[in-house]
Each structure stands twice: as structure tokens, then as C-alpha cells.
Amino acid sequence: MNNSAAIEVLDLYRSFGETRAVQGISFEVIQGEIFSLLGPNGAGKTTAISMLSCLLRPDKGDARIMGHSIISNPNEVKAVLGVVPQEIALYEDLTARENLTFWGKMYGLRGSALRRRVDEVLDIIGLRDRANERVGKYSGGMKRRVNIGVALLHKPQVIYMDEPTVGIDPQSRRNILDSVVSLKDQGMTVLYTTHYMEEAQELSNHIAIMDHGKLMAYGTHEDLVKLVGQQTRIDLTLNVDAGRVLNVWRALEGVTRVSAEDGKISVLVDDSNLVLPRLFESAAKLSTRITSVDIQEPNLEAVFLHLTGRALRD
């Protein structure tokens, strides 16, 4: 094992019946970094996290968390690990303080140490003044913050955050992203899963892109963007069905890839200045009108499109 690796994933497999959710993924997360698993819904991210949390036993492979095997030393793994599940996993009829106290006990905290730590976590998540209200009465964003707070109680060395910003308002989202950076600053290693390209791009030291249970690419943001070279993505909508232009545009000089989903056409090009006039020209020849154009500089979205032929948000 690499001494600086907090998480070392070694060829993990997991199937559910005929569905192969995770198909041989391997990667390393360096201590003290934020590592993002990026992929669309159904890519296998949550299954991977569940295996790394010792919730699911892999069909094959292993992983080491701070040197402890998820197969042979699950209790040691759980002791160094904080997990923020994708869903809110709290007792809604208990107050935030009661929730944190209960979960603290489950992590082995007792007495004054527990009370002190609960207060600290309430400060971290910014809910100390509303600590005695039932969680059921909280907004979605506040619940998310308590959901994260639970995972921080025992000061874990590694923290998993499984899509913690799904379905919340922009202010709470900002708050959560700031706390993730703050955790990193405190020396924690963060494994963060998301299907929001912007979050992965903003937070991560390293990013792994997953799709259909496989790791498609792995590296820093810059490394990944290089995979698509300097290609630009042009998103267009037409006044008619996209099928009319797809084959014509694929044959145009300077076009690398064309895909269409939900009425939107994405075109990867080497130089948008050269290709864009050709797109308009061929559309006109086909009696088709382009109704909107959006030019995207190379980013993770383009990487995903390049690797899978599909847009990340689909």
C-alpha cells in the first residue's frame, strides 16, 4: 500500500442479480485530499460507497481504508470512517441535539466528551441556536447539515459524502460545499460522489469518472480535460427533429462527435470559430433553423461526453 493513500480500492466488483453495478474499479485517494467520484445516476457510485462503508460485501476485490481491509477488518474501518449517506438518515421525531447525541453514542462517545463534541458539531453545521427543535421541522438544507454533522462526531480520518447536495437550495448547497473544503483543511480525507460536474471541478484534487459500473477516467481536473484535447462543445437546438441533421454534421470537417438527447444536439469540435458557420450553412441547406447555440469550453462535461457519448446530466 502507498503510505500516503487513505483509501486504496483494489478491483472491486458487485452485482445485484443480472445487474453488474460495479465492475472492477480500482483507485487511490491520497490522505488529506478531496476525491470526487463523478458520474450520472445509476453509474455505480453509491454501490461503490456502500462497499467502502462495509455495508455491502464485494463479490470480488478489496479496499483498504487507512490500511484496514473492508473485508477482514470492517470494525476498524468503521471506526476511522464517517459516512454521509445520500438520503437524510436521521430520526425526525428527535431534535438535532438528540440525534447527534444518539449517533455519538453509536460511535462510542460518552459523558462530557460527547456533550462537548455535540456542541462543537452544532457550531460547525451552524445549528446551535435551533438544536432543540425536532429535525422533522427543519428545512431540507438544515436536515442535510445535520446529516453531515452526524458523520463528523467522532472526528473521522476519512469521510464519505454521497451526493450531499441533491435537492437542496443554492444557499444550503454553498454552505455544504464550504464545509467540505473546511473538512479538508482540518486534515480529513473526503471521498465525494456527485453527478454535478461543477462541484467536482470546484472541490476536487482528483476526480474519477464512473459510468455503468466502470471507472472511465481518473486524474486531476486538468488531466481529464486533456483527454478531450482543446475541443469545444457546442450545444444547439433546432426547430425540427434533430435526426435530420445528425449524419450531415458528423461528416463535417472539424467535427469530432455529435450526439442528440432530449431535443438538444451536442457537437464536439476542434475550433468553434471554424465549425459554427458550417453548422449554420448545412442547416440552411436542409431547410432547418438553429434556434439556440451554447458554446462550452473544454470541461468535465465534455470529458464525459467524449468518453461515453452521452451528456453527464442524462
Binding site: L55, P85, A89, Y91, L94
Partner: protein
């Protein structure tokens, strides 16, 4: 320690839920109160009395020279020369007249006809050899008890009186048997004195022998400005209903509390618990402990509340504790077992309703069949097919002051049911979360 933390958290959840509290405590007490006030209000108006039970007696007892007891010591037996006349005397005594109306018929057929035609509710046929059989130390004196099967209260009163009488007389036989084993079997005079003395001690020394014969041990000691007999019979009914309600809702609580395992699974808090350094065994132990503790609290509260509100006398602490422990274990394990069969709480609603209603009604059938001899025998057997039946039986036994050995059998029955449910339930949950 973590298991206790989980159990306390679950209990706090249960007792914070208004609907859970209503079902745990409110409804059982409310149903019992309905019966209590239904009779109690009438009683408080001063004109309450149970309808008099019409009893026809065909006294065919021919007596016999062997029957030489000094009957002056037996209540109602002052002019009796046979055992049959003794019984008639007791049932015709003045203090019984508010409850029982006795008429005599010449033969068994007339007695049967009177009941069949609903001219009477109970027929007693005292056979010709009744006194002889009683006098014969190896004989068995039997009375035929024939009743209207649709009635419960009146026949149960008559049966209760007869049982007490026959118990007392059986004691005399035992005393004579013991005497004859120890003394010269031909010493008839001495034997007669023993019988006489025994009757004197066991029955005649009472200030109110008829009251003794009517005493129903499960009834309340709460002071009500009515005759003790009437009050006792009414409260006996209330006690039975309370016992039945308590068992029914204890099993309901066991099942609904155990549902928290499925609920936590759906709310994702259970998987989250599994990500903490807490073993699966500890987590499930905590969840099971919560079910046991909740049912235990429920039963204790109901016993105390019903004692305070209705004056129900539950019995001696030891036997009651034994039956309560068995009921708690059985009800909780039942809940764990039923929930282990379910995939989700959505399935629970329909299945709980069906399973709890069917098993609950089967278990309580003996409460409603009391007083009907044929139905009682059948219902006693049928009710033991479900754990609720054992719990109801155990409570009836402790309320009736039955010996610990009898209560122990009910306790073991509850334990056996509980063990089966618990083992299957735990195995299924362990497999589910493995």
C-alpha cells in the same frame, strides 16, 4: 450499553407518538371502561340487579343410610336429609333469592324440557345415587348441569356456587379418607365426628356462608354500595375483559414496535447504524430490547391503571409477574417474527390487521365463551393454538388464585411460543442484514 441506547431511543419514539400511546393504553382502558360504566352506572342509580336466573332442579337423590352428616352445620342444610336437599337448600336460601329463582321438577326430562323451552336458564339433575356416591369414599358424586347455551352470566353464577359447594364437600371426603387411613376403619362414630367437625370449621364458622359460596376471587374488592355478590360478579366480567384487552393490545404493541426495524430500514437510519462501529448483533439486540421494554411498560401501566380505575384484583405478585414476563416475551417475539416476514412497512398494515385480529380473537375466545360449558371446553382448547390464548389463560389463572403449578404451565406455554417466534424472527433478520 449501545443496545440499551438503541432501545431507549426507540422507546422514546414510541412514547412520543400520540397514536401509539392511544393504542397502548387508551383503547384497552376505554373498552374496559365501556363495560364497567355500562354496569356501574346502572348500579349507581340504585335499581340495578342482575336478572334472576331461573333454575329447575330434578332432585332424584334417594339419600341413603350412609349419609349421616349433622347437616345443621351446613348452610341451607338445616332440614336436609340428602345431599340433593342440601343443594336445593343453598340455592333457595334467602340471600340467593335476588339472583336465583329455583323451582323443582319431578324428573330429568322435565328439567331438560324447561331449559329447551326457555322456561328456565339452567337445569340441575341430581342423580338417585348422589348421596350414596358422596358417602362412598371411592365413589364420585356427579350433578348434571344443563343450560341455555346462549347465556353466560346467569349460568356462570350457578356453576360458581355449585363448584364452591362441591369443593367444600370434596374437602370433607378427603378429610375422612385421611382419618380412615390413620384410624380404625370401623370406628364410624369417630368418622362422623370428623366429618361434623370439618364441616363446622370449613363452612359453618363463617359469618356469612352463602357469601363464601358466592365469592368470586377475581372480582374487585373496591367498595361499591351494592351486595358483594353482585359487585363481584360484575367486576369479574370487567376483569376478564381487561385481561383480554391487555393481551390483545400487548401483541399489537409488540408487532407495531417491532415494525421500527423495517421503518428504520426504509428511513435509511438502519443502514447508517451499520456504518458505525456497532455490531449487527448489538443493533438488533437493541431493537428487540426496545420491543420487550415497550410491551413491559404497557402491561405494567395497564395493570396498575386498571387496578386503580376499576379495582381489578390481579392476584399475587409472584404469579402475576410470571404471567406478565411470559406475555411480554411472547408478544414481543410475535412482533419480531411477523415483521421478519415482511418486506416493507406498506405490507404491514394489511397483514398486521389480519394476523392480529385473527390470533387475538382466537386467544380471547375463552373470555367470551365463559359460562357456556360446551363452548368453554372447545374455546379453551382452540385459544391455546395461539400465544394470546396462553396469556389470557395465565391471567385468568392468577386472577382466580390458581396454584403456581397451573400458572407455571401457562408461563411455559408462553415461553415456548415466544422462543419459537424469537428464534425464527432473529434468524430471518440476521439473514436479511447479513
Amino acid at each position: 450499553m449501545k443496545a440499551i441506547d438503541i432501545a431507549l431511543k426507540d422507546m422514546s419514539h414510541s412514547f412520543r407518538s400520540t397514536s401509539a400511546v392511544v393504542f397502548m393504553f387508551g383503547i384497552p382502558l376505554l373498552v374496559t371502561a365501556m363495560f364497567y360504566f355500562m354496569f356501574g352506572n346502572i348500579a349507581s342509580e340504585g335499581d340495578f340487579s342482575l336478572p334472576r336466573t331461573k333454575v329447575v332442579i330434578a332432585d332424584l337423590d334417594e339419600g341413603g343410610p350412609e349419609f349421616q352428616v349433622n347437616t345443621k352445620n351446613i348452610p341451607g342444610g338445616k332440614d336436609a336429609h340428602t345431599m340433593g336437599q342440601l343443594i336445593i337448600g343453598i340455592l333457595q336460601s334467602e340471600k340467593m333469592s335476588d339472583l336465583i329463582e329455583v323451582s323443582l321438577v319431578p324428573d330429568a326430562e322435565s328439567a331438560h324440557t324447561a331449559v329447551d323451552s326457555q322456561a328456565a336458564q339452567v337445569a340441575l339433575i341430581i342423580p338417585p345415587d348422589f348421596s350414596k356416591q358422596f358417602a362412598d369414599l371411592n365413589g364420585k358424586a356427579v350433578i348434571e348441569f344443563y343450560q341455555d347455551p346462549t347465556l353466560t352470566i346467569g349460568p356462570s353464577i350457578i356453576r360458581s356456587i355449585l363448584n364452591r359447594f362441591m369443593d367444600g364437600m370434596s374437602s370433607v371426603k378427603i378429610a375422612v379418607n385421611v382419618f380412615l387411613d390413620e384410624a380404625d376403619p370401623k370406628d364410624d362414630v369417630l368418622a362422623g365426628q370428623v366429618v361434623d367437625e370439618y364441616l363446622h370449621i370449613s363452612l359453618a364458622e363463617s359469618d356469612d356462608p352463602e357469601k363464601d359460596l358466592l365469592d368470586v376471587r377475581s372480582a374487585s374488592s373496591a367498595p361499591v354500595d351494592k351486595s358483594a355478590e353482585t359487585t363481584n360478579v360484575l367486576l369479574r366480567i370487567v376483569s376478564q375483559i381487561m385481561a383480554g384487552m391487555m393481551v390483545f393490545y400487548a401483541f399489537y404493541t409488540g408487532t407495531s414496535t417491532a415494525q421500527s426495524i423495517l421503518k428504520e430500514e426504509e428511513d435509511r437510519t438502519l443502514p447508517r447504524l451499520f456504518t458505525t462501529p456497532t455490531s449487527q448483533a448489538t443493533i438488533l439486540t437493541g431493537k428487540f430490547l426496545a420491543v420487550f421494554m415497550t410491551v413491559l411498560v404497557q402491561i405494567i401501566v395497564l395493570i396498575i391503571a386498571s387496578k386503580l380505575i376499576f379495582g381489578i384484583r390481579w392476584g399475587e405478585f409472584g404469579p402475576v409477574a410470571l404471567v406478565v414476563a411470559g406475555t411480554v416475551f411472547s408478544a414481543s417475539s410475535f412482533g419480531i417474527f411477523v415483521n421478519s416476514l415482511l418486506k416493507s412497512t406498506r405490507q404491514g398494515g394489511a397483514i398486521f390487521g389480519g394476523v392480529l385480529t385473527v390470533t387475538g380473537m382466537l386467544g380471547m375466545i375463552s373470555v367470551f365463551a365463559a359460562g357456556s360449558p360446551t363452548a368453554a371446553i372447545l374455546s379453551d382448547t382452540v385459544s391455546l393454538l395461539v400465544p394470546q390464548g396462553w396469556a389470557v389463560r395465565g391471567l385468568q389463572q392468577v386472577m382466580n388464585g390458581q396454584p403456581l403449578a397451573s400458572v407455571l404451565i401457562s408461563f411455559l406455554g408462553l415461553l415456548a411460543w415466544g422462543a419459537v417466534f424469537f428464534i425464527v424472527g432473529v434468524l430471518r433478520f440476521n439473514k436479511r442484514y447479513a
